[in-house]
Amino acid sequence: MKLADLMDYDEAIGKFDPALGLEVHVELSTQTKMFCPCPTEFGGEPNTHVCPVCLALPGALPVVNRTAVESAIKIGLALNCEIAQWCRFARKNYFYPDMPKNFQTSQYDEPIAFDGWLDVEVEGYDEPVRIEIERAHMEEDTGKSLHVGGSAGRIHGAEYSLLDYNRAGVPLVEIVTRPIMGTRENAPAVARAYVAALRDLLRALDVSDVRMDQGSLRCDVNLSLAPAGAGGLGTRTETKNVNSLRSVDRAVRHEISRQASILVGGGRIKQETRHFEEASGTTRPGRSKETAEDYRYFPEPDLVPIAPAREWVEQLRVGLPEMPWLRRATQQKAWGFTDLEMRDLVAADAVELVEQTVAAGATPSEAKSWWSAYLGAKANEAGVALTELSITPKQVAAICAMVTGGQLNAKLARQVVDGVLAGEGEPDQVVAARGLAVVSDDSALQAAVDAALAAQPAVADRIRGGNLQAVGAIIGAVMKATRGSADAARVRELVLATLGVQG
């Protein structure tokens, strides 16, 4: 479908009600893999984090990682789920070269956690939106295939493929929502807010790096449309490769328009997997799911059932950290922000950044101002998330400190930020390299003031006559002469002192 044929979003929402379902895969940040002692560390030369177990050599057997089970239980508890008294792993059988055993050890009809919910703050709603959680289950990641030759790394037309099993067997928890209905035009915002809230929760639990850009948090968006007001569920598509919060929003929005265009034209939606294209904000078809794949699930006979002791579960429940949204109320009070300011920060996904910037020494208002205004604009320009900007909260705090100390003014500080974003090094290195320090040396400033007064004698007279507003013209001339590097307040003091006028 050509972009020009897509139905306008507002029109689509007028005609259809969207139903959402979100499947989020979380890579756990355990030291070792789900079923063997190999490290889970991201990166590493291909096929260096492997052993007989995760390579599925003949005879190798899995053993469950206790920490991964603990993390899964914590996630379940934080999502208000029931924790299974007894559950098993199951084998999901299908052949794919990046899956060494040619079955994935997962959970099928006995997930470790089920029947939960998460309340999510969404802009445009007075009350939090309750997202029902169907289940959270444990499984293992696959390896990675790299298709060489052909177009855009896709398997079709590739000359050959390379396999890297470093990621094979890394623990995953898959969190599946029940269908989310009735969100209408807010569907994209609800989806995004849910994934953001889930990410914050997982970070607070300290169970995952939750880096969408590195794939440690991956979201599949299920979406279907039903005629407005008719109720029920239409045929759904599952969109994969949704790798940022912004993409969640865009993918939902695009699928609504795309499906609506097809339905209005009398077509029918194909049940299929689609892939989100970051560059165009569209989705393209992948594997058809019309003929349901038969995974021949059966209980994993190489692993004993998991029966978490109730005392252990209760211990974990008691040890859960304060959830981010509860902590936010405390933070808002401590920072002295209004509800609106706080909501803007949440919407911009800047709360954690502000928190870390404040922790690094900045004042809350400085931190908020940088992240929501200048850096927010920079992220928008670049089309990336705030967290993906190449500047850290610590660096922002360092720049704030220079402003407070008088070494930088606001304008220069922005140039330092630009330098850091451009990869020119730490803030002090940027200041030195770009020669951005504020001119606060009085002798240099005095010369500039004297020159400005000499150049504008009439203005100097008006100041002597008590017209203090005229000082602005001299300050402007001095700033121009020093290319903005002067401290305006100091210039003013020097002008008044030179002319013997009381400020």
């Binding site: 003949p58 059966f298 006979p301 190489d302």
Partner: protein, 510 residues
């Protein structure tokens, strides 16, 4: 060393060899060399071995001799004694095929836990023994590398899947062997070769490094020519292994003490249950006669013999042939030509899928493919409940049958195999006839209980060995070995020696 001496060494029990080595009467190298020589003599005719580790075995024997010469205590009661390892247990650097073309040339980069325990105990591994491909079969004819012959009659099969290990014992190529038993692969070959083989309680011996056939049934076990040797080996390999999560987290049963007790005492105070369902139609008259004589002997030895009823055993074979292939279909999926083993059709153009298909199509034998197809079907959507689900229910019912039988008997007995060794090629075209060989051993496999085969003599009709199966409740290895030891001691007292002693000399068979 004289010819006579070599002849003595290969006919000695593992226990006697160990005491001679530890006592300095003979070196481990001499013992190992005697067995390597015997293998060189007779294995061309028997084909028990797929790989012979001459250098590795002699080096291991030398290490034992050096350690003893340095005044160190033997690493175990079996230090210096040679052993034949079934080629489904991995040993680092030693070719491991599981009897399949699909693994031809593969050298494992790691040791199975069983292998580690054997090496740590100073046991000398002579080589890897033949088996039905991936242990699927009851005759060793399904090996991709040719059948093993029964030392009692070279035109007959030695049983399977562990025919290589059993034949190596009966041909005096090794005094000890390792087997694996999924539905009878230790017990049935033991019966057909006049040797001893024990399947421990499921989880009693680590499966780590043992190439899986059916995970919920597979169990590694010891094989030898005497009950004591079997028990000595049992204690070397058994015990908890954190790398196998189905391994029982308890100390291994004290089976050697149980054997000594069995040798010293009779069966007074023990109740022996004869399973009604395991001796009727389908059992060869010579086997039934040998079994009845064995029961009579146990009665004479003071046992209280009772008949027990296990009505669900009738469904055992059917349930087994659904559960086992289901697990097989999944366990064997990893043989895909991507990371190790055979790779066919990789011409630089063919897709990975085409290479997988070609490799699996030609790399697996007919029986393996039959079971993969059966299992794939049984697990399919819409059939799972009717097949896999029902089979699991039968499994539970069979366990209940055992539970009630063990309420009235300390051990249960039956023939280990319904027939004595049959002719090569006799059943290869009739899978059902082949499957029926495991009729008596499958119930114990499904229930995960310990069971062993001890020779009960030679069949009157064929003159070939017959095995007596002794079964005990889970973790009841001690009573199982005790009964087997008493029975064996009585047999020796009445016949002047063990059954294997009567096996043909095989001189000049090559």
């Amino acid at each position: 060393m004289s010819e006579h001496r070599v002849g003595d060494l290969i006919r000695m029990t593992a226990a006697d060899l160990a005491s001679a080595i530890h006592g300095g009467q003979v070196s481990a190298v001499e013992v190992t060399q005697a067995h390597l020589d015997r293998i060189a003599d007779v294995d061309p005719a028997i084909h028990a071995f797929l790989h012979i580790s001459v250098d590795g075995a002699l080096a291991a024997a030398r290490a034992v001799d050096e350690s003893l010469a340095a005044g160190e205590r033997p690493a175990s009661p079996l230090a210096g004694v040679p052993l034949a390892l079934k080629d489904i247990v991995v040993q680092k650097g030693v070719p491991t095929t599981a009897g399949s073309k699909i693994l031809e040339g593969w050298r494992p980069p790691y040791d199975a836990t069983v292998t580690t325990r054997l090496l740590d105990a100073g046991v000398v591994i002579l080589g890897k023994t033949n088996l039905d491909e991936f242990a699927m079969g009851s005759s060793t004819e399904n090996s991709a590398y040719g059948p093993t012959r029964n030392p009692w009659d070279l035109d007959r099969i030695p049983g399977g899947s562990g025919g290589g290990s059993a034949a190596a014992l009966a041909a005096f190529e090794a005094p000890l062997a390792i087997g694996t038993d999924t539905g009878g692969s230790i017990r049935q070959p033991a019966a057909l070769t006049g040797t001893v083989g024990a399947k421990p309680t499921y989880g009693g011996v680590s499966r780590f490094g043992v190439i899986a056939m059916a995970s919920s049934l597979d169990q590694v076990g010891p094989c030898a020519r005497t009950v004591l040797d079997t028990a000595l080996l049992h204690e070397v390999i058994a015990g908890h292994d954190p790398r196998d999560s189905t391994s029982i987290p308890q100390p291994a049963p004290q089976v050697v003490d149980a054997v000594r007790r069995g040798q010293a005492e009779d069966l007074s105070g023990l109740r022996v249950g004869v399973v009604k369902q395991l001796r009727g139609s389908g059992y060869q008259p010579g086997v039934v006669a040998s079994f009845d004589a064995a029961v009579a002997a146990m009665t004479r030895l003071g046992a209280e013999v009772v008949e027990v009823d296990c009505p669900h055993f009738a469904y055992g074979l059917a349930a087994y042939y659904l559960i086992m292939p289901s697990e097989v279909s999944s366990n064997l999926a990893r043989f895909d030509a991507m990371r190790y083993g055979l790779r066919l059709g990789d011409d630089g153009e063919a897709s990975a899928e085409a290479v997988m298909t070609a490799t699996r199509g030609r790399g697996f034998g007919a029986e393996v493919k039959r079971r993969i197809i059966l299992g794939t079907y049984a697990l399919s959507a819409g059939y799972y409940d009717a097949y896999y689900g029902s089979a699991q229910k039968v499994r539970t019912l069979i366990s209940r049958d055992f539970a009630s039988a063990f309420a009235s008997a300390d051990v249960l007995v039956s023939p280990s195999s319904p027939v004595t060794a049959f002719g090569l090629g006799e059943k290869v075209d009739d899978p059902m006839a082949m499957y029926l060989n495991d009729l008596a051993t499958i119930p114990g496999s499904l229930a995960g209980i310990p069971a062993m085969s001890v020779p009960s003599g030679l069949a009157g009709d064929t003159g070939l060995p017959v095995g007596l199966q002794v079964m005990a409740p889970a973790l009841g290895e001690a009573v199982m070995y005790r009964v087997a030891a008493t029975f064996e001691a009585d047999y020796i007292a009445r016949n002047g020696g063990i059954v294997a002693r009567s096996a043909p000399e095989l001189d000049g068979v090559r």
